[in-house]
Amino acid sequence: MPETTAPRDAVPSGTAPAPARATTTVQGAVPAIEFQGVVKRFGDNTVLDGLDFSVAKGDRVTLIGPSGSGKTTILRLLMTLEEADGGIILVDGDPYTHEIRGGKRVEVPEKRRRAVRRRVGMVFQQFNLFPNMSVLENIIEAPMHVLGLARAQATVRAEELLDQVGLADKRDARCTQLSGGQQQRVAIARALAMDPEILLLDEVTSALDPEIVADVLGVLREVAETTDITMLIVTHEMQFARDVSNRVLMFDHGRIVEEADPETMFTSPTHERTQEFLRAVLGD
């Protein structure tokens, strides 16, 4: 496993390697993800209040901010696990769950939602592997039954991915026999098996013991370096955010209060809320 030695929660220092990727926003290009005035309420609690932002193709964007600031809600909206109460979400310029037709906001039919959802993959905090299936079955289930791959084909790809996440020998294990870190690596392989254009990472290391966090982050670093998947990352691992992402968005109360490249965000944040938050997270 490469790069497993990065210190966790290390205070960013000037000598840390600069992010490999520059912001890829190209004038006129269709963004991979675009939020237009997105509103999300849970009962009386308005989590997102007319949020606008976009992510260019191949961007690695980390969302930071205190809990309840709407970061996870953004990922869940992109996976259609939640439904927005207002506004429009576009993926590659295609309306996802709602669109404006004749000046009115209407639902997109499930068939078209699925076509968009297929381009999006997600890794969860609690792994959510299927406990009634083996490791291999977890990974080939969707390629076989969604993409229509033959079992042999899906298995070859799954074995490559298992090798990539360092679990080739666990192919036939029950998921329940694996450690949390191993389960999360299988979950990453499972998401990658669908060849997503967009990968959502929802606090993927928060449920893990500190000593195995590095393994999981190592796997994700490699994914970031070897693919051009657009990534949206919610994490408390600031060193990881710094290494992998090329853009950091600071959220507070459902709004973006500050946006910068990781170097700037972690060394010289300008907004007071960002400074407070980073002080709390980095533990100065």
């Binding site: 996976m79 696990l81 999006v120 969860f124 299927f130 406990p131 289930e141 969707a142 039954h145």
Partner: protein, 213 residues
């Protein structure tokens, strides 16, 4: 007929009672199969979003549960005179217990963590796969002890088939008693056979419960 208990009379009573035991087992197995399949269907149908579907099914379930099994057996038996009594017995037992088993399934389905549904959605699995490959295998594992307990209950309620002249174990003992006035031994044998069959089964169910817990 002076002795309270005679082993010889007990031995004489045994063959017809064992024949009745066969019918008792048959009714229980067929009834359980019907209840398990129908109960699952009811549980799935009741999850429909349309009230036009859930309301009538809910009403039917309440109706079956709120009326006695004995009344249901006799009613259906008399309404359908051309259907053999044993068939009526199996179906009525099955339908009656399906309403209870559907609740066991419902609880099992509700116990599948939300993350499982979300992971299935994130992989864009089609609805049928979500149910067949993800939710039901996990739900049914959790329902097995509950279903087993209802199967045992059903087994113990088969003597109601007496009312529709199915010669199961209890009826066989009654008939034997009627012919020979030997009731003590015959009914004791029935009790022992029920105990012999249901006690080990309930131990098995309890072990299953502990293993799956």
């Amino acid at each position: 007929m002076n002795d309270v208990w005679s082993w010889q009379r007990a031995a004489e009573a045994l063959p017809p009672i064992l024949e009745g035991f066969r019918i008792t087992l048959l009714a229980t197995v067929v009834g359980t199969a019907i209840a398990a399949v129908l109960g699952l269907l009811v549980a799935l149908v009741r999850r429909s979003r349309s009230r036009w579907v859930t309301a009538p099914v809910g009403l039917a379930v309440e109706f079956v549960r709120s009326t006695p099994l004995l009344v249901q057996l006799v009613f259906v038996y008399l309404m359908l005179p051309s259907v053999p009594a044993l068939v009526v017995g199996c179906v009525v037992l099955g339908v009656h217990y399906a309403t209870y088993m559907s609740e066991v399934y419902r609880a099992g389905i509700d116990a599948v963590p939300r993350g499982q549904w979300e992971a299935a959605k994130a992989l864009d699995l089609p609805r049928t796969r979500v149910w067949r490959a993800v939710v039901l295998p996990q739900a049914i594992r959790k329902t097995l002890p509950g279903l087993g307990n209802y199967a045992i209950s059903m087994f113990k309620e088969t003597p109601y088939l007496f009312a529709i002249s199915v010669v199961e174990m209890f009826t066989a003992a009654q008939q034997f008693g009627g012919r020979t006035f030997v009731y003590t031994e015959a009914l004791t044998m029935v009790g022992l056979l029920f105990l012999l069959a249901s006690y080990p089964t309930s131990l098995l169910v309890r072990r299953l419960e502990n293993r799956l817990a």
